[in-house]
């Protein structure tokens, strides 16, 4: 909403500059997007001039050489390109130093060899109109002056400041009107706010005196067949209308408010809308077939050609205004081409109607058609506003279009519901705000906002004015009105008394933090990926048709195909980030993400299952290269497993892996991760074809877990174990087993045979050598730790366990212990 201050000041003029007024409005609930200057600058350089002579420029056919009285003795020589310049005209002159609306400064210049000491101005050069065919003539010397211009001889004296004659420049507040305040979509509504916010007096509304009358109108009628969608329809008829340009002051206000002037009647509808917030539409009554308008729901597929020349196809939820020949307007949104006013129009039917906001919103959305009218009507204006606008329009039709208003006013629907009265309790005001606003102050504020106020036992009885009917319906709404004008900056800063509330993270939230910390401590950087993925991700990950992760949920209205589905795995995000970093020069990429994936779930339909996953990828050096180790080992499945085991051990969850693959993994270097026997994720190296699709030729190792599933198994409170009072006995053995026996199996056998005394088993070497170990065999070096909690073990006890282990390996796995 653009509010030219020059216009606002007609109704309320606080002694504040634009910025200070903007600040005050911002602190009382009307946000100011920006403050603009509209029009010219250096106003003292714009003067009234009288053309004394206008002759041919000796060097140019189309230019005139003029001598212009600008009030300071010697006439100025000005070169003028307009065809309509004549001696005797009173004109608008910009002198050197004038700042034009586009910000440039006018200088004395030579035009075709002759000096021009300024410029005779056309309307558009002042940005107070769009006319450029000729100069703006303030008085042509025969006493004819522009229609409606209230000019007298004194102000038209040569040298008089032009700003006294025309609204040359104004500051403009660009306001952000919140959706609850459609009353502020007009200048007068903003003036009410300014009055309440600053205390500056508010002028009378422009609709207090009505030149029109009530009652039936001869020769025109209106019927509303859908009163639910059209609460009020008002119309007046004007005869002897003379279509022509609007006066400069009106054009200037429209321009500053962002509307293009067109012709007096159309400009009046726009001007009144900008002033009162109520859209109007002018019909050429002679083009209304049957001189009767009918408001009804459209028929499915019904077509109407709108003012912009396009044909719109309607549905039965949309409302049309029709005459005997069919639809002429889309109600509340845009007028039709068939009945619009034209240069030969002499009789006008002026419509100002109230519409159902949600319905207008839908129509505008469905048709992709927004207008100044629809953007106001969809916010739900009040029926009273229709007649107010009608009154203002009547004044202007008489004054600016020379029209006669025909007696009567068509009024279908009438005013809105009776105003409601709400009790505003003192205790509730202070109870909600945490500060006292005295009753007297509350009353003062509400009266300034045009609420009716009466004293009650415990507060005030407040009557809501019609233009606030939709917004203020409850006591809490009144408290907001009082609080915003009284000033929220006066509230104290206190803390809630918090009856028994204590803040903490849940175990699951703590676990997520610990997991992220553990991975970061191992050198992985955390990423935050998009929840959106492209539909081809499933193919790129080689997921088969029956894989649940293929069933990614699709958005109805994605911003692009690449972001049209919701991810079912973190792997896409991680590989995207890996590729991005490699493309930007990183050779070592160690990343993890902790975040949700989105899975279709019958149990939660129509919502989804959103488990929190943890994923990681490692590419390149497993540890940082240094001058001593310039070529460290590359990350592989064991590097990923190392990172994974560190965090699962920290969480004290019982876990293991088993050989199993995923479609996107290297079939020989992949595993399923099990926690307490349940599969919770995968571990391995990404299949080279998949990695290649993300432009990675090196090994990509990684894992992904359902962290929610892991969290369910995380160890609770750790209990003390005495491991310091008695020493443990360590023994290294080399176990030879057939190649193909998993290390996990060997350890399981050793553990069982080692019994309670065997505290730990760890693989520290793996060795294959046909000569020394045997063909088809593998040697695993194990470090065994034996311990008893209440005494030191003897050599005999350890030897017995060792013998039992050897026996078990032989029996269960066909293995043996190799001599050290």
């Amino acid at each position: 909403m653009r509010v030219p201050l020059e216009w606002l000041h007609e109704y309320c003029a606080p002694p504040l500059d634009a910025r200070a007024l903007g600040d005050r409005l911002a602190m009382t609930g009307t946000a100011v997007e920006r403050v603009e200057h509209y029009g010219v600058g250096a106003l003292d350089k714009f003067v009234v001039g009288r053309v004394l002579e206008a002759g041919r420029h000796p060097n140019a056919d189309r230019l005139s050489l003029c001598r212009v009285d600008v009030g300071d003795g010697e006439p100025a020589q000005i070169v003028c390109g307009a065809p309509n310049v004549r001696p005797g005209q009173t004109v608008a002159v910009a002198r050197p130093g004038a700042i034009m609306p586009d910000g440039t400064t006018l200088k004395a210049a030579k035009l075709r060899g002759l000096e021009s000491q300024g410029m005779i101005l056309a309307e558009d050069e002042l940005a107070i109109g769009t006319e450029h065919a000729g100069i703006l003539v303030l008085d042509d010397g025969d006493g004819d002056r522009p229609a409606g211009a209230a000019l007298d001889g004194a102000t038209l004296r040569p040298g008089a400041p032009l700003a006294e004659v025309l609204p040359l420049a104004t500051d403009v507040l660009v306001l952000e009107i919140t959706p609850n305040r459609p009353d502020c979509l007009g200048i007068y509504g903003v003036a009410r706010e300014v009055h309440a916010a600053t205390g500056a007096p508010l002028g009378k509304p422009p609709w207090v005196e009505d030149p029109g009358t009530a009652g039936a109108v001869e020769g025109a009628s209106v019927e509303v067949l859908c009163p639910d969608l059209c609460p009020r329809f008002t119309a007046r008829v004007f005869d002897n209308v003379r279509i022509g340009p609007s006066p400069p002051w009106l054009k200037a206000r429209l321009m500053a408010a962002g509307q293009r002037p067109i012709s007096n009647v159309v400009d009046i509808t726009n001007y009144v809308m900008l002033l009162t917030a109520q859209p109007l539409h002018a019909f050429d009554l002679d083009r209304v077939a049957g001189a009767k308008l009918v408001v009804r729901r459209a028929r499915p597929g019904e077509a109407v050609e709108t003012l912009d020349g396009q044909t719109r196809i309607l549905d039965e939820e949309m409302v049309v205004i029709t005459d005997a020949e069919g639809p002429t307007s889309i109600a509340g949104v845009m007028g039709g081409a068939r009945s619009e006013v034209a240069s030969d129009t002499t009789r006008v039917l002026m419509e100002a109607a109230d519409w159902n906001g949600p319905n207008i919103h839908r129509t505008s959305l469905e048709l992709g058609l927004r207008s100044e009218a629809s953007s106001r009507n969809e916010k739900q204006l009040q029926p009273e506003q229709a007649l107010e606008a009608q009154v203002v329009a009547t004044h202007l039709m008489i004054e600016l279009a020379g029209a006669n208003v025909r007696p009567g006013t068509i009024d279908v629907g009438g005013p809105g519901t009776r105003p409601i009265t709400i009790r505003l309790r003192d205790a509730r005001v202070s109870g909600l705000l945490g500060a006292v606003i005295p009753r007297g102050r509350c009353g003062e504020i509400l009266r300034a906002l045009e609420f009716g106020v009466a004293d009650a036992d415990d507060g005030l009885d407040v009557t809501v004015p019609p233009f606030r009917r939709a917004d203020v319906t409850r006591e809490q709404d009144l408290i907001e009105e009082v609080a915003r004008i009284a000033g929220l900056d006066r509230l104290p800063a206190t803390l809630p008394s918090r009856h028994g509330a204590a803040g903490r993270l849940t175990p699951r939230q703590r676990l997520r933090r610990r997991v992220a910390d553990a991975l970061a401590a191992q050198g992985l950087h955390e990423i935050v990926g998009w929840s959106f993925v492209a539909p081809d991700l499933a193919d790129r990950l080689r997921l088969p048709a029956n894989d649940d992760r293929r069933q990614a949920v699709e958005l109805e209205n994605p911003m692009s195909v690449d972001q049209s589905h919701l991810r079912t795995t973190l792997l896409g995000s991680l590989l995207d980030a890996a590729r991005y970093n490699r493309a930007h020069g990183a050779t070592t990429v160690r990343l993890f993400e902790s975040g949700p994936v989105y899975l279709a779930s019958a149990a939660r339909a129509p919502l989804l299952s959103e488990p929190h996953h943890l994923g990681a990828v490692l590419i390149g050096a497993a540890r940082t290269a240094t001058w001593r180790d310039p070529d460290p080992r590359q990350a592989d499945i064991f590097a990923a497993k190392g990172a994974l085991s560190a965090l699962l051990e920290m969480l004290r969850v019982p876990w293991s892996v088993e050989g199993a693959s995923e479609p996107f993994l290297h079939p020989g270097r992949s595993a399923a991760v099990l926690v307490a026997g349940d599969r919770v994720g995968w571990l391995g190296e990404i299949h080279p074809l998949v990695a290649g699709d993300w432009d990675v030729t090196e090994v990509v190792a990684g894992f992904e877990l359902d962290l929610d599933a892991v969290a369910g198994r995380a160890g609770g409170v750790a209990m003390y174990e005495d491991v310091t009072s008695f020493p443990e006995v360590r023994e290294d053995i080399a176990v030879v087993v057939p190649d193909g026996v998993a290390a996990e199996e060997v350890i399981a056998v050793v553990r069982r045979a080692g019994g309670r005394l065997l505290a730990a088993v760890e693989v520290f070497d793996v060795y294959r050598d046909a000569e020394r170990v045997g063909e088809g065999k593998v040697s695993l070096a194990l470090r065994l730790s034996f311990r008893e909690l209440d005494r030191t073990l003897t050599d005999q006890e350890v030897a017995a366990r060792r013998a039992a282990i050897a026996q078990a390996l032989a029996d269960k796995l066909g293995g043996s212990i190799r001599a050290a």
Binding site: L432, R498, A501, A520, L524, L555, E610
Partner: protein
Amino acid sequence: MIDRIGELREQAQAAIAAAESAAALEEVRIRYLGRKADLPNLLRGVAELAPEQRGPTGKAANQARQALEALIERRAGELVAQELDERLTQDRVDVTLPGDPLPAVGRLHLLTATRREIEDVFIGLGFNVAEGPEVELVYYNFDALNHDVTHPARDHTDTFYVHDDVVLRTHTSPVQIRAMELQPPPIYIIVPGRVYRRDSDLTHTPQFHQIEGLAVDDDVTMADLQGTLLAFARAIFGEERKVRLRPHFFPFTEPSVEVDVSCFNCVDGVTADGQRCPICKGTSWIEILGAGMIDPNVFGYVREYGYDPERIQGFAFGMGIERIAMLRHGVPDLRLFYDNDIRFLEQFG
């Protein structure tokens, strides 16, 4: 004879002192104390001396031998230390070469780090951390939050739809309703999480993060809202900060406010070097979040769970984590958060 012993002793002492290596010292030992050396020979010859000479001569020879042995031992110790020093001195490294680091530590994403800091402030103020679904019913995302059926946020141009009645949540606010359905008042929660809006430009990404706050009790006031947000603003932006509540409109709060924090980068909009402050744009205030007292209509949706709008009241607020992180760390472009460039990531966390 005794003279001869004295002579040998002096010669040997000089030789020990002169020995510059373990090998040379051993040579000296063999020369003076070895089996064929003069001093042991003298001792063996004592028996052949006249009886009155045997005592003094033997004693002198023994003393000489013991003294020399002690000297050799001491000299040997000196030489070991000396040789170790020489060896260590030669084992010299270029101490200016770079260190050999333990595995490099990775970083938490700036959004995670910021979220944790904010969470910790509110946990300290007595709030719990709640969560809720990102794919959400229109009922929770709009209806129960008192959004008019024409509210533009409902449009397909603004909000991602999965079905007619299912959207990607556009804010963390629906968790307000879900939390109140699960627990009667008093309730003090914050809700961090991903949210989605159909917007993509310099200052908008279709996915971003919010933290919602909700406090409902029988006596929570707007002044409490101000105090709570003041504590938050000071924890995150510095102890000198002030906050101001600016009236605004949101469908689910009444009164509604936008909250500004006093600029941490300037004084009255002017930076230390006299420039117009780029962070607050010269206004000395920075908008950080939206808030308000919960609209009675919202309580109307959860009345049956113990939320009678005549008996209880509360405040709610919502902030963008990206915005807080950008302000605080001077991040100029929202999209940096989602590029996940390691050179960006490792600056924070």
